[in-house]
C-alpha cells in the first residue's frame, strides 16, 4: 500500500514508541502535521522552536528516552541550534526533525531555506538530509538507534517538503538492515577484561581513592552498581554537575559536587587522591581547574563509552572503553573475586577520616540575612527543598542560581536533576522543566531560574498553561546577571559593566498572570514558606514565585578560572580554618 512520506514519517515515529513530541509547524514541515491529527503521538505546541528543543532535552533527562522535536525549515531550524548544541555537549538522546525546501529548490536560496545539515553538523552526533520518501523509515530508525546507543546525543533528520508529499511503499527496516546500513557504527559497550582486572587491583591497593562520577553513570543507568562498589570498598564519592543524584547526597561516603563551585571536601579529596576512578566523567575544565595542577599524585582509571574521552585531557593509567553499567558490574565482580581469593584492601580509614574532617570543617554555608535585610537565595532554595514532595525534580538555568541549586538541594535519587552543564545555556530551565513534567507527570517539578535566564524563554509558560503542564518556577531574582556580576566584583575590581538588569522591570507576577500562571511575589523570609506551600498546592496551572533576593550574594566555594584547585576560595567565614585543607 502506498502512503505519503509524511504518513511514513509519523508512522515511523509511532513505531519508535514516541508518545510525545514538541514542535512548531510551518511551511516546509506542513505536510507532516496532517497525519499527526490521526496519530497517537501527543504534540506540544511550543511558542519558540528553542523551547521545543529544550523540552525534548528535559523529557530525555528524566525518562532516559529520546526527546523528539519537530519544526520547519530556515529560521525554525536555526532556532533549534542552541538546544541541539546543548544536547550534544551533555550527551542527551534527542531526535530533531526539520522541514526543508523541496529537493528541486535546494540550493536556490528559496524562501525559508537554510543549510540545516551544514549548520548543525558539528553540534549533532549525526545528521542526515533525506532525499526520497522511500528512505524515511530507515533514516528515522537510524536516528533513534544512533541517538540512544553508545554515547547518546542529538540526531537531526532534515526532510524536504516534496519528500513528505511523495508517495512510497511502507517498509519498516529490520535490526539487521539498520546494522548493515551503518557499517562504521559499532559502539564498544563491554570493557576489556584485562583492564577491568587491572582496575580492580588498583582499587584495592589505593590508599586515597575517590570515585569521580560523571553524567555517564546516569546515562547508562549504573547508579545502583556504582553504589555497591563504593560501599564494598568504602570509597568516597564525588558527583559532578551532570551526575547529581547518581549517588545519594545523604550517604556517608558522598562528598558532594567537585569543581569550580564544588564543596571544599570534594575538590580537596580529588586533589590529594592517589587514585581517581572516573566513571562516565570527562575531566571537564570546570572540574579540573588548571589541568597541570589537578590531582597530581593520582593514578587514573577512566571508564567511558567514548574512546575519544580517553586521554583527551588527562592520560589514564587504566583506560576502559565501555558502558559504565556493564563495566561497573564487571569491576564489582572482579573486586569480589580478588577479595574472596584472599586479597586485602589497603587501609583507607585514615583517608576516610581526612575526608570527613574536610566535610566537617568546610560545610556549604552562607551568612543568614540580618533582620529586615534582603532574602538570601540559599535560604529560598533550602525552603523549597524542605517543602518539596518526595521525588521532586529540580531543573535549573545557568548561573549563580544553578550553582546554589546543585549545592543546597539534597539529591538522593537519580534523574531528579536537570540542567545545562556543558553548554551553559541561559534560558534552559523553563522549557526543560516543561519537558521533564511531560515525561514525569507524576512528579513535582520545580524550575529554579535567575531573572536573567527567565527573560530568555519565559514565553514557554504559555505553552505550559495551555497544555496543562503545571510546573513551578522559582525565580531567584537579584535583578543582576549574578554570576557575571560576581566575576566583575572579584576579578575586575568591582567595575560593573552591563550586568544590572534594572530591578522592578519587568513585573514577574503580572507577567506570570498574563501567561495564565499564578504569580507570587516574596520579599521577606517569613513569606517564603507560605509561598512555597501555596505553589506546591496548585496543580492545575503553572506557578511562578518571584523571590526578591540579596543582590550582592556570591557563590562559594570558588576556584577561579584557570586557577589550581589548591587555590580554592572558601566561604569568607571559613578562611581562618584554611590550614585544615592540607
Amino acid at each position: 500500500m502506498k502512503i505519503t512520506g509524511a504518513e511514513a514519517l509519523i508512522k515511523a515515529l509511532e513505531m519508535e514508541s514516541v508518545d510525545v513530541m514538541f514542535g512548531y509547524p510551518g511551511g516546509c514541515i506542513l505536510p507532516a502535521y496532517d497525519p499527526l491529527l490521526k496519530s497517537s503521538i501527543r504534540h506540544i505546541l511550543v511558542r519558540h522552536e528553542q523551547g521545543a528543543g529544550h523540552m525534548a532535552e528535559g523529557y530525555a533527562h528524566v525518562t532516559g528516552r529520546p526527546g523528539v522535536a519537530m519544526v520547519t525549515s530556515g529560521p525554525a531550524a536555526t532556532n533549534l541550534v542552541t538546544p541541539l548544541c546543548d544536547a550534544y555537549m551533555d550527551s542527551i538522546p534527542m531526535v530533531a526533525i526539520t522541514g526543508q525546501v523541496s529537493t528541486t529548490a535546494i540550493g536556490t536560496d528559496a524562501f525559508q531555506e537554510c543549510d540545516t545539515v551544514g549548520i548543525t553538523r558539528s553540534i549533532t552526533k549525526h545528521n542526515e538530509l533525506v532525499m526520497s520518501a522511500e528512505d524515511l523509515p530507515l533514516a528515522i530508525r537510524q536516528a533513534f538507534h544512533i541517538a540512544t546507543t553508545g554515547r547518546p546525543g542529538p540526531v537531526l533528520i532534515d526532510v524536504p517538503k516534496d519528500v513528505l508529499q511523495n508517495s512510497m511503499t511502507w517498509h519498516w527496516p529490520t535490526d539487521e538492515e539498520v546494522q548493515a546500513s551503518l557499517p562504521g557504527y559499532h559502539p564498544t559497550t563491554k570493557g576489556h577484561p584485562r583492564m577491568i582486572k587491572e582496575a580492580a587491583k588498583l582499587m584495592l591497593t589505593a590508599e586515597r581513592p575517590v570515585l569521580y562520577l560523571g553524567g555517564g553513570v546516569l546515562k547508562s543507568r549504573a547508579a545502583e552498581v556504582v553504589r555497591e562498589i563504593a560501599e564494598l570498598l568504602n570509597i568516597p564519592v564525588v558527583t559532578t554537575l551532570m551526575a547529581r543524584g547518581a549517588f545519594p547526597d545523604s550517604h556517608p561516603l558522598c562528598l558532594g559536587m567537585p569543581g569550580m563551585h564544588g564543596t571544599a571536601a570534594a575538590v580537596t579529596a580529588m586533589q590529594k587522591s592517589d587514585l581517581l576512578i572516573a566513571l562516565g566523567a570527562r575531566f571537564d575544565d570546570r572540574v579540573t581547574g588548571k589541568v597541570s595542577a589537578f590531582a597530581q599524585e593520582a593514578k587514573i582509571i577512566h571508564v567511558d563509552i567514548d574512546p575519544a574521552e580517553q586521554g583527551k585531557v588527562r592520560r589514564p593509567d587504566v583506560p576502559i572503553v565501555g558502558d559504565c553499567k556493564l563495566v561497573s558490574i564487571e569491576i564489582l565482580k572482579a573486586l569480589r573475586e580478588l577479595l574472596d581469593g584472599g586479597e586485602v584492601q589497603a587501609d583507607i580509614a585514615p583517608w576516610r577520616s581526612r575526608c570527613s574532617g574536610w566535610q566537617e570543617q568546610f560545610p556549604l554555608s552562607y551568612e543568614p540575612s540580618a533582620p529586615g535585610a534582603a532574602l538570601k537565595p540559599q535560604f529560598c532554595l533550602e525552603q523549597i527543598r524542605d517543602h518539596a514532595p518526595e521525588g521532586t525534580i529540580l531543573v535549573s538555568g545557568v548561573g549563580q542560581h544553578q550553582m546554589w541549586s546543585s549545592q543546597y538541594w539534597h539529591f538522593d535519587e537519580p534523574y531528579t536533576w536537570v540542567n545545562s552543564g556543558g553548554l551553559g545555556t541561559m534560558g534552559f530551565s523553563v522549557p526543560a522543566a516543561i519537558g521533564a513534567k511531560v515525561g514525569r507527570p507524576d512528579k513535582t517539578v520545580w524550575a529554579i531560574d535567575g531573572d536573567g535566564c527567565f527573560q530568555m524563554t519565559a514565553q514557554e509558560l504559555i505553552t505550559a498553561s495551555i497544555s496543562k503542564i503545571p510546573i513551578k518556577v522559582g525565580i531567584l531574582n537579584n535583578s543582576y546577571l549574578g554570576m557575571v556580576r560576581q566575576w566583575q566584583e572579584m576579578f575586575y575590581g568591582e567595575r560593573y559593566s552591563e550586568v544590572d538588569l534594572g530591578g522592578g522591570v519587568p513585573d514577574f507576577v503580572k507577567w506570570a498572570e498574563a501567561m495564565g500562571c499564578v504569580g507570587i511575589r516574596v520579599d521577606s523570609p517569613e513569606e517564603v514558606a507560605p509561598a512555597i506551600e501555596r505553589a506546591n498546592s496548585i496543580n492545575d496551572r503553572p506557578v511562578v514565585v518571584d523571590f526578591r533576593v540579596e543582590e550582592f550574594e556570591k557563590v562559594f566555594p570558588m576556584v577561579a578560572a584557570g586557577a589550581s584547585n589548591d587555590d580554592i576560595i572558601l566561604q569568607p567565614s571559613q578562611n581562618e580554618r584554611r590550614e585544615y585543607l592540607r
Partner: protein, 179 residues
Amino acid sequence: MSTYPSPQRHHILSVLVQNKAGVLARVASLFARRGYNIFSLAVAPTEDSQFSRITIVVDVEGTTLEQIVKQLFKLIEVVRISELDPQKSVERELFMATVRTDGENRGQIVELANIFEAKVLAVGVDALTLSLEGSPEKLDDFEELLRGYGIVELQRTGRIALPKLDREAHSRAVKGKAS
C-alpha cells in the same frame, strides 16, 4: 625547499568512509572545528562503490594525532582508519605545472622533464605544461628545479598511499578495536 612537513610530524591517514553525500564536508569540518590542520587531502571511490577512501596528510604531534583519529572515528560514516607509516607504504602524487619559456631554454626544460620522466602535456608559444607522477619528494625536487624558469601555474593532487607489499604487517590499524 620541501613542501611537506618533517617526518616526525607528518602522518598519513587512510580513512575508509561510506560513499555518501556530505561525508567529505563532515571530515573537513571536524578538522576545522577541532583546530587540526589538513596538509593534503585526496578522495575517490574505492574498488567497492559503497565506500570511498580519503587519504589525509596531517601535520601534528603524536598526541594530537590520537585525538584526530578518535574524533574522526566518531563520525558515523567513517568505517575504518589506518595510519600508514611512511616507511612502510607507497605514496604517489600527481603534479601539473605551466612553466614560462623564452624559446631558448625550452630544450633545457624538456631535458629536465625527461630526466624526471615527466610528460609534456601542452606546448604554447611561450610556455609549457608538464605533468609528473611520483613520490611527493620527487615532485618537490622537480618543482624546485622548475622554479628557476618561472612557474606560471602549479597544481598538486595531494598524496595517495597504500601499504607496501612486504612480508610484515604494513599498516598499523589505529582504529577498529578501541583501546
